[in-house]
Every structure is written in C-alpha cells, then in structure tokens.
C-alpha cells in the first residue's frame, strides 16, 4: 500500500508562528528551506569559505529581515535572493583570483580541456565531474558579478528575467556582464590554445 503523500509545507502559517517567537516553527522553516539554500550556496561558494558557515549566515539574515518580508513575492524566492546576494558579497570580498595554469590541472581536467580546445571529440560523460571542476576554475578567473551571471545563465540555465529577479540587477546589465564574461573566457581559451601548441 503506498504511503499517504505528505501535506505541503504551510509557509504562511509557519511564518506567523516564527514572528510570534515560536522556536519549533523556526526550526521547521530552516529544515524546509535548507535544500534550497544549500544548493545556491554550493553553486556560488567562494574559495576558502565553508558552505555551512555561509548557509548559516543566509539563515541568520533571513531571520533578521523577516519583518521586512511583505509577501509581495513567494517566500522561497525571497530567501533565494538573500542567499544569492550573500554569496556575491563573499565573492566580491575575495580580492585575489588565482592564476589559471595547465600545470595546476588534474589529469582528467587537462584531458577535458584538451578535448574542448581541440574540438576533436565530445567530453566523455564520465568526465563530467572533471568538467565541473574545470568550469569552476575558469569561472574563478572572472569578476565576481560576471561569475555569478555565467553560473546562473549557462550552468543553471536560468533566464535573464529570473536572474534579474534573483540579483536585483537590470536585464541590460546582466546581458552586458554575460557578454563580457564570455569574451574574457574566449580570450583565455585562445591563450591556452597558443600555450598548448607551443
């Protein structure tokens, strides 16, 4: 016999209890939102920042700003925005960007890069993790705002409108950032190709 489906989480009811100071409701809210927040944090996690610390910071901001939430947008969307802006603040705080060098790549990352640069073969499916690592290293070469745009646009395949809603940036700015970031990556690929040939 199939188990009865769990009733959907009552966000509005839970928020009312949290506002009244109910700690149990607050814990339930954290547990409910944790998967959403941790996914965002993991996608935009800056170097040398622990994901749990950043997640905790997002939740603390959420509770401290709860009085400002008027219900104009869905609560999960409001929390996502806090998570994205918290990540971008941490990314901006990292002044130095590590240099991208062939020598620092693992064997499988170098294989993946070789495959995409030479255009000879598709990246094998079992190299997807190496491709992810490589993408993170390449994105690390960009400005924090540009990194964020490309992650949301190309990796998470969000629309410009969705990115605008998440970041609060206007759509033209997002397009400019995406264009600039892709151009920088293209330049980087050209340099890598030259180095590979030499």
């Amino acid at each position: 016999m199939p188990e009865p489906a769990e009733p959907p989480f009552d966000v509005a009811g839970c928020l009312a209890l949290v506002r009244a100071g109910d700690q149990r409701a607050a814990r339930e809210l954290v547990d409910h939102l944790y998967p959403l927040v941790i996914r965002i944090v993991r996608s935009h996690l800056p170097r040398r920042v622990a994901e749990e610390d950043l997640t905790q910071e997002v939740f603390l901001k959420m509770f401290s700003r709860l009085a400002q939430y008027q219900g104009a947008v869905h609560f999960t969307h409001w929390v996502s925005r806090i998570a994205v802006t918290t990540c971008i603040d941490h990314l901006r705080a990292q002044k130095r960007r590590p240099e991208f060098r062939w020598a620092d790549l693992s064997e499988s990352e170098a294989d993946v890069l070789d495959a995409v640069l030479t255009n000879e073969r598709e990246v094998p499916a079992n190299d997807a993790l190496a491709a992810t690592e490589l993408v993170q290293k390449l994105l690390g070469q960009l400005k924090p705002d540009d990194q964020l745009v490309l992650r949301l646009l190309d990796l998470e395949q969000k629309t410009i409108a969705e990115i605008a809603a998440l970041t609060g940036w206007n759509q033209s700015l997002i397009k400019v950032r995406a264009f600039r970031a892709r151009r920088k990556l293209q330049k980087l690929f050209l340099e890598l190709r030259k180095k590979e040939r030499s």
């Binding site: 100071g21 700690q23 607050a26 814990r27 339930e28 954290v30 547990d31 944790y34 998967p35 941790i38 996914r39 993991r42 749990e52 997640t55 905790q56 939740f59 603390l60 509770f63 401290s64 993946v112 995409v116 640069l117 255009n119 598709e122 990246v123 499916a125 190299d127 997807a128 993790l129 491709a131 992810t132 490589l134 993408v135 390449l138 646009l153 190309d154 990796l155 395949q157 629309t159 410009i160 409108a161 759509q171 997002i174 397009k175 995406a178 264009f179 892709r182 990556l185 293209q186 690929f189």
Partner: protein
C-alpha cells in the same frame, strides 16, 4: 529570454554542457543540530529595540546638520551683532540694576 545564445560549437558551450551532466551526490538535508543552532542564534540575539535607540543616533546626526546649517545661514547677522557689541555700539548698562533694565525694556 537569453542575451545571446551560446554558439553551439564554442569551447565554453561544450564545457558547460559536459559540466551540467555531473551528478551532485551531496546530501541536501540539514545536518543534525543545524536548525537548532541557527534558531538559537537568530532568535536569541533578537533583543527588544526601543524606538529611542533606533532614532537617537539618526536624530543626533540630523540635529548636528541643522545646527551647522543654521550657523552657516545666519553667520553674517550673528557676526555683525557680535561685532557691534564688541565695538560698544550699544553697551550693556554697567552698574545699573539689571532687573530694572529688563522690566523697563518689557514696558
């Protein structure tokens, strides 16, 4: 809506296409005790804030600005009067009964 679709054969496009296939086996459930810790930190530090606390510094700042503006706007007049007093244009009645002078002025 997309800014400019990625050229299908571009290096970056091929790379992100491969990266998107990577599974993420990490758990997405909150670790044990995480919720309790966060709630304790969040609700524990929520101290009652009086309106006076909230407004005091802002009010002080505004008062300072207004005071500076008032001095700047009336500087000429104030300087003239002070200069006049210093020059003895209208000297203070020395040796007279000050209360009588004030009462006389009031009349």
């Amino acid at each position: 809506m997309s800014p400019s679709p990625l050229p299908p054969g571009s290096v970056w496009n091929r790379l992100v296409r491969a990266a998107r296939l990577a599974p993420d086996p990490r758990a997405t459930a909150a670790p044990l005790g995480f919720g309790t810790r966060v709630v304790a930190l969040a609700l524990g530090r929520r101290a009652p804030v009086s309106l006076l606390d909230l407004l005091a510094l802002r009010a002080l700042g505004v008062a300072c600005i207004l005071a500076l503006c008032a001095v700047a706007l009336n500087y000429e007049e104030a300087a003239r009067r002070l200069g006049g007093l210093a020059g003895g244009e209208e000297s203070l009645p020395i040796g007279e009964d000050v209360v009588a002078v004030v009462l006389a002025l009031a009349d």
